[in-house]
């Protein structure tokens, strides 16, 4: 690890994991934290708790804004543990000079997204700092949810499970990158930013036994599959052509030399379900997004590894993304 913090250490990939385990896990070590789930399950499995900070730039993007993201992000982490989001906190750090109208508009999106989740903000904090101390506005939310289905864990995936993805991948990462200064691409692509609780609720109501769920945020599908392979000590074998990618995301990837599988999502999740439940799960998912797909099986071929199979008979390892996301243009 380097002596100073680099942007790469916040990428959701390898350097990020290294920083977390060497600094935070070492200091805060306890049984619940060690499970490394999207949300911590506490109070003998009855409650789930999660926290997340939001620093996205630009603040407003196709398909959402930092406010919508701040509610979706934390509620989705709860939903991924089979919990119904109930109570949130909201902490805001703004730089002086930030426009009130923008703040109002951000808070409005928070409100409407909270309604979709049936959750409320019950505590908050506001700080204003000198211009330049933060980039316009940063938001932290912490949430508590009531667990509806117990036993969901990324540590229990086995060869009886199949891996599904809830929709096409990479839309958030691609949309944000396209809007960046110095890149400037015009596209109709919208971020996938969306609350996932209603989808999860539908899965549970339909009696599906969910082994694990995770929303594929920073580091994308590649990071989730690698985390799962390691946590459950299994090999995940993916059929590459089954992974749904929409044409705009593909276009942005072609232009900048990215791979959709490593791009961030904010309303796309991966799930492991028992083989017998797979078809029902797929039917439920497709009511929300028609391009949900079964993408992988679980084996013991190379434990702790993810293998991508091509449709022309070759295979390769899929690694956890590393480094800052940079266009490969020269």
């Amino acid at each position: 690890m380097t002596n100073t913090i680099t942007l790469a250490q916040g990428n959701g990939g390898e350097e990020n994991n290294e920083l977390i385990s060497n600094v935070f896990y070492r200091a805060f070590e306890n049984e619940i934290l060690a499970k490394s789930e999207d949300a911590a399950v506490i109070e003998s499995g009855k409650l789930a708790m999660s926290t997340d900070s939001f620093t996205v730039s630009p603040l407003f993007f196709n398909g959402g804004d930092i406010g919508k993201l701040a509610v979706c992000g934390t509620c989705n982490d709860l939903a991924m543990m089979g919990a119904k989001p109930k109570y949130l906190t909201c902490s805001v750090i703004m730089e002086e000079g930030f426009e009130l109208n923008q703040l109002k508009s951000i808070v409005e999106s928070m409100k409407s997204e909270l309604a979709k989740n049936g959750a409320v903000v019950v505590s908050g904090d506001t700080k204003v700092v000198q211009k330049g101390s933060v980039d316009k506005i940063f938001i932290n939310t912490t949430g508590i949810g009531e667990v509806l289905q117990e036993g969901i864990s990324s540590n229990n995936i086995s060869e009886d499970d199949l891996i599904l993805v809830s929709r096409d991948i990479g839309a958030h990462g691609a949309a944000i990158f396209a809007a960046r200064e110095g890149i400037e691409l015009e596209t109709e692509l919208q971020s996938d930013c969306e609350s996932l609780f209603s989808t999860v609720e539908a899965l549970i109501t339909n009696g599906i036994q969910i082994t694990a769920m995770r929303d594929a945020t920073r580091g994308g599908l590649a990071a989730v599959l690698n985390e799962w392979a390691k946590q459950s000590d299994v090999c995940i074998e993916v059929e590459e052509e089954k992974i749904p990618v929409n044409q705009y995301v593909q276009g942005i990837c072609e232009m900048l030399g990215f791979e959709a599988i490593a791009l961030a999502n904010e309303g796309t999740f991966v799930l492991a379900v028992k083989e017998k439940d797979t078809q029902t799960a797929l039917d439920v998912l497709r009511k929300f997004h028609p391009n949900a797909q079964i993408i992988a099986k679980v084996t013991q071929e190379k434990p702790k590894k993810v293998i991508l199979h091509s449709s022309w008979g070759t295979k390769r390892f899929l690694e956890t993304p590393t480094g800052e996301l940079l266009p490969r243009i020269c």
């Binding site: 400037e184 691409l185 015009e186 596209t187 692509l189 044409q247 705009y248 276009g251 232009m255 243009i329």
Partner: protein, 94 residues
């Protein structure tokens, strides 16, 4: 090295010598500074590298390549069919 990708020209601004190109529904501006005047027209397929059009893609040559691939596939299919027939004959004979 040198990631260059095929795109379609959808607009040309002669004043600034800049074209708008489309790649699977994603659009961006690309400079025409490396091309001869009047060489690029709307609807052309071009190769884009770091914000510049570096040349046109020859449609005839591209189609000729695709035709070659089709022929190879047909020949392979035929060969496989013949092999399958031979295989079947052998089974019957034994």
């Amino acid at each position: 090295m040198c990631l260059s990708i095929p795109s379609k020209v959808v607009q040309i601004d002669e004043q600034t010598n800049i074209a708008t190109v489309d790649t699977m529904g994603v659009q961006r501006e690309a400079s025409l500074d490396l091309m001869a005047e009047g060489d690029v027209a709307i609807g052309d397929y071009v190769l884009i590298h770091i914000g510049f059009i570096m040349n046109k893609i020859d449609e005839e040559d591209a189609l000729a390549s695709l035709e070659t691939y089709k022929e190879i596939l047909t020949a392979m299919d035929e060969e496989e069919r013949q092999n399958a027939i031979l295989e079947a004959d052998r089974c019957e004979g034994s």
